[in-house]
């Protein structure tokens, strides 16, 4: 079943369109910055954008910082909202269930596929933005092979690769929280759009509350609270505190919402 779902994933035109759009944004940004040489001052605009002018090797990280706050969660929510409700809309859900495919198996296969999608999207993003960075900004001055970390020390290319891998995994885990919320809503409604918008509403609400001082007491538990904590991979030494908390928080969200999705789906009348 997992293989079937993965097969369906790579055969879907919309998957490739959304990944394409995801990769396009950093390319556009790179074109503007490299032609104008105007980078946002440190602390403003996307993270790492001020650093890439001197060395393109950090551009994958900059690209991830551009895409993670909005575009990646939207793409994830679109696909996850479609997971069960989309099958219900095309009517294929009933034919899968009477094939028979167990309901639990179906949910697990959908989640594995979503994880694969996020990994695939971020890996492709990192690769395209690496090439973009090399082409647009070059790999630094010859005498100075390393890259300066956010803490001012020098990072070797191996260092960067390892830290990017860590960030990749962290971002994937962060997106699973969104995915779990959207999958849960997808089992509640038969409208994929409704499930997607519902999940996005949760994220927008979370971002809103995060900026609200009065809601400070719940801030550490908001799903988007630690989304950008992977930036700490680029400090020297790595600041593990927020990364660990971020992973822990996402695990809780995934368990709660997948549990709810499972409980709802197991007893649901499939009338579509």
């Amino acid at each position: 079943m997992i293989r079937v779902e993965l097969g369906k994933l790579v055969r879907r035109p919309r998957v490739w369109v959304s990944i394409g759009l995801l990769c396009l944004l950093p390319i556009i940004v790179a074109i503007f910055i490299s032609t104008t040489r105007i980078a946002p001052p440190p602390g403003q605009g996307g993270a790492f954008l001020s650093a890439v002018l001197s060395n393109g090797a950090l551009y994958p990280a900059a690209a991830m910082a551009l895409v993670v706050p909005l575009f990646l969660p939207v793409a994830t929510a679109v696909l996850a909202g479609d997971a069960v409700a989309g099958e219900a809309t095309t009517g294929t859900l009933r034919y899968l269930l009477i094939r028979p495919v167990g309901r639990t198996r179906l949910l697990v296969a959908k989640l594995v596929t979503l994880t694969a999608f996020v990994l695939m999207a971020v890996v492709i993003l990192l690769l395209t933005s690496f090439v973009t960075g090399e082409l647009a900004f070059g790999s630094g001055t010859p005498g100075q092979p390393g890259v300066t970390s956010l803490s001012g020390t020098t990072l070797t290319p191996t260092d960067i690769a390892l830290r990017l891998t860590g960030s990749l995994l962290f971002v994937t885990v962060s997106m699973l929280g969104v995915a779990a919320i959207a999958v849960f809503l997808s089992t509640v409604t038969d409208s994929p759009l409704g499930a997607t918008l519902g999940a996005l509403a949760v994220l927008v609400g979370s971002e809103l509350l995060a900026t609200l001082g009065a809601a400070g007491s719940i801030a550490p538990y908001l799903p988007t609270r630690y989304w950008l904590a992977w930036v700490d991979f680029f400090r020297q030494p790595i600041l593990w505190r927020d990364i660990e908390r971020g992973i822990g928080l996402q695990v809780v969200y995934v368990l709660v919402f997948l549990g709810a999705a499972w409980a709802n789906f197991m007893t649901k009348d499939v009338k579509s």
Partner: protein, 319 residues
């Protein structure tokens, strides 16, 4: 094959299916009749484990459902409320994905099995165009192919000829007869009486969520004990058969008795011309209208048109 006891499904205040005792036997060609909204599809969905019953019991192939649904579904092929496929993929790819998703699918033989069922439903020469470019009839055939993919011993088909042209309907009827001869039990639902009458051996009638009739078609269509005679000399015949004629309707007489040959000889012997003569049988339509009652006013107009139509065609009761 399928037995239910007191099967009931409520959606809030609405009772979709109420106390149904269904009995589909092995080897049956069972037709479930009833107007749209009478609960046929909900009943089918409960048997397939898609919808959970409010109360009552279901047994399929001797095993309780939904507890053992996964086990019995392996040998059931079904079409529920129209076919469905991923529109951007070809029919072949859709069938291959469906096959791979379930248990007991051997990858090595998949292509051959997909080709086999496509041949069987008359889509053998289909190209790689996506399903969204299929006609309604082609989708219906593809849905049937999907149902046959697991080599079922029980076929559960909801309106199987929906969207098909007369030729397609004929093809599907032949296919279902063929499968039934090979030992497949066929359980289909329909609101088309002729379809069920031509194919089925047993019939169940749903009305407002209840199963109001379940019987062999042969028994329902047993002779009524009257003979129908059409004659341009109906007046003379009436005089000759004095006392035997139960009813006269223009040139048509309804004569008590069952021996058609003797009655015919007697009429011809008395120089009375006979254009048609046959034992009177109730049509399935009459039976269904009797048990479902004429209370539902939304069927009145169609009902009336049907009757006019029948007089025009004449052979209604002579078939």
């Amino acid at each position: 094959m399928i037995r239910t006891e007191g099967l009931t499904k409520r959606y809030g205040p609405v009772t979709a299916v109420s106390g149904v005792d269904l009995d589909v036997r092995e080897g049956d060609r069972y037709g479930l009749l009833g107007p749209n909204g009478s609960g046929k599809t909900t009943l089918l969905r409960m048997v397939l484990g898609l919808v959970f019953a409010t109360s009552g019991r279901i047994e399929v192939m001797g095993l309780p459902v939904p507890r053992h649904a996964k086990r019995v579904l392996r040998s059931i092929g079904a079409l529920v409320e129209g076919p469905a496929a991923y529109p951007h993929l070809s029919g072949r790819t859709n069938l291959a994905l469906l096959d791979a998703a379930g248990p007991g699918s051997v990858r090595r033989t998949r292509k051959r099995r997909v080709d086999e069922v496509l041949d069987r439903v008359g889509l053998g020469g289909i190209d790689a165009r996506p399903v969204k470019a299929y006609s309604l009839g082609m989708r219906q055939r593809l849905g049937l192919a999907g149902a046959l993919l697991c080599r079922p011993t029980l076929l559960i088909l909801d309106e199987p000829t929906n969207g098909l042209d007369p030729r397609g309907i004929h093809d599907i009827r032949d296919l279902l007869s063929e499968l039934n001869d090979e030992g497949v039990t066929v359980f289909l639902s329909s609101h088309l009486l002729p379809e069920v009458e031509l194919l089925c051996t047993r019939v169940g009638v749903m009305d407002a969520g209840r199963l109001v009739l379940q019987e062999e078609i042969a028994a329902l269509r047993a002779p009524t004990g009257r003979i129908v005679v059409d004659s341009p000399d109906a007046g003379h015949a009436l005089a000759l058969l004095d006392g035997l004629v139960a009813e006269r309707d223009g040139d048509r007489l309804f004569v008590r008795g069952t021996d058609v040959a003797r009655l015919n000889a007697r009429l011809v012997g008395a120089d009375i011309r006979v254009t048609q003569i046959a034992v009177e049988r109730r049509t399935l339509e009459q039976v269904v209208l009797e048990v479902t009652g004429s209370g539902a006013d939304r069927v009145d107009r169609a009902d009336h048109v049907d009757r006019v139509d029948r007089v025009d065609r004449m052979p209604g009761s002579l078939r």
